[in-house]
């Protein structure tokens, strides 16, 4: 019950981020897809980069990374910015519950708001009237990979945020690792390898975040 109450509170607090995500992905994405529909003809339509809605890929990357970074900063880097920190001070909920509620709220924002907007945009692009060759299922999966980069950046920023080390020391290791995984993902690896690299990065960052959150004095 405490977890659900915390999650509800968290979700209310970060609802604005979700709305911004919808506005960015659907607002800009809609105009990008319509613009691409006017210039259709020079696309092979196999992967994201060669699909008629390739421009929305960079939009998704930007939106998800922006969302993850802002959530990471507001939830972990600035103590007191979100109300959940007070629960830590009063010890009325376990640290695991607090951390899980924060991470779950961020994941819900990314999955429902960003992912939902992406799904709607993809469905719109798949309408038979819009493109002669509609975007394939692979393009949709690649879009979700881009959204998972938001979770990666969120965990990287969160880990750096709660790391008590000085800025010139190991504090920025989380962000740096997230950045490395991001670069490796864009090295034309293919969907499976890119997914594996992102999953490994998320796992490594999440383990460190959980351990540091349990051990750190607040």
């Amino acid at each position: 019950m405490r977890f659900l109450a915390l999650l509800k509170g968290q979700q209310k607090e970060i609802l604005g981020n979700g709305v911004v995500q919808i506005l960015i992905v659907l607002g800009f994405g809609y105009s990008l897809v319509n613009g691409a529909a006017l210039h259709e003809g020079s696309y092979v339509n196999f992967s994201f980069s060669s699909s008629p809605i390739s421009d929305t890929g960079s939009l998704l990357i930007f939106a998800s990374i922006l969302c993850g970074t802002i959530l990471g900063i507001t939830q972990f880097w600035i103590p007191g910015f979100r109300r959940t920190w007070h629960f830590l001070l009063h010890r009325c909920a376990s640290r695991t519950t607090i951390l899980l509620s924060q991470i779950t709220a961020a994941v819900i924002t990314l999955v429902i708001f960003t992912g939902g907007s992406w799904t709607l945009l993809f469905l719109y692009a798949s309408l038979p009237k819009l493109f002669i060759l509609p975007p394939t299922c692979r393009v949709y999966i690649e879009g979700w990979l881009f959204i998972s980069l938001g979770l990666l950046s969120y965990l990287g920023v969160a880990l750096s945020g709660i790391n008590p080390a000085p800025l010139y020391s190991t504090k920025l290791f989380g962000i740096t690792l997230a950045g490395i995984v991001l670069i490796v993902t864009f090295m034309q690896l293919g969907i499976l390898w890119a997914s594996a690299v992102i999953a490994a990065g998320i796992l490594i960052l999440a383990i460190q975040l959980y351990s540091m959150f349990l051990e750190r004095e607040f």
Binding site: T96, T170, F173, G174, T176, L177, I180, I204, I207, Q208, Y210, S211, M212, L214, E215
Partner: protein, 114 residues
């Protein structure tokens, strides 16, 4: 708290892995910088040194020159040897030298009707 212990055991290797990956990135960056410096500073110097050594044309013996020359028999019964230094890179490309039978240079210049 077995969970806490487990996560601690998992977190240490994860931290080490993170540090290693970042270290590898730093090594990669330093390597790229070193290779860039080498390419900018050292390789051109070596190229300059290589280009400083002029390609000395091989000095041919008289017999070699005669065998590689075009023979022109004149109406007065004399023979002239037309030697074209087509492969020379010293500014005398396509220059033609005309020698008599005693290897005396009679004329040197560029033949335009080749």
């Amino acid at each position: 708290m077995p969970n806490k212990l487990l996560i601690r055991y998992l977190a240490k290797p994860a931290e080490i892995l993170t540090a290693l990956v970042i270290l590898l990135l730093l090594v990669f960056i330093v390597q790229m910088i070193a290779l860039g410096i080498e390419e900018v500073l050292i390789v051109p110097t070596q190229r300059e040194q290589a280009t400083d050594i002029p390609n000395k044309p091989k000095e041919l013996t008289t017999q070699e020159k005669i065998s590689r020359s075009q023979k022109e028999f004149l109406p007065d019964g004399t023979i002239h040897f037309l030697y074209s230094a087509n492969d020379a890179d010293d500014g005398t490309k396509n220059a033609t030298e005309i020698f008599d039978a005693n290897s005396n240079l009679i004329w040197k210049g560029v033949k335009f009707n080749d």
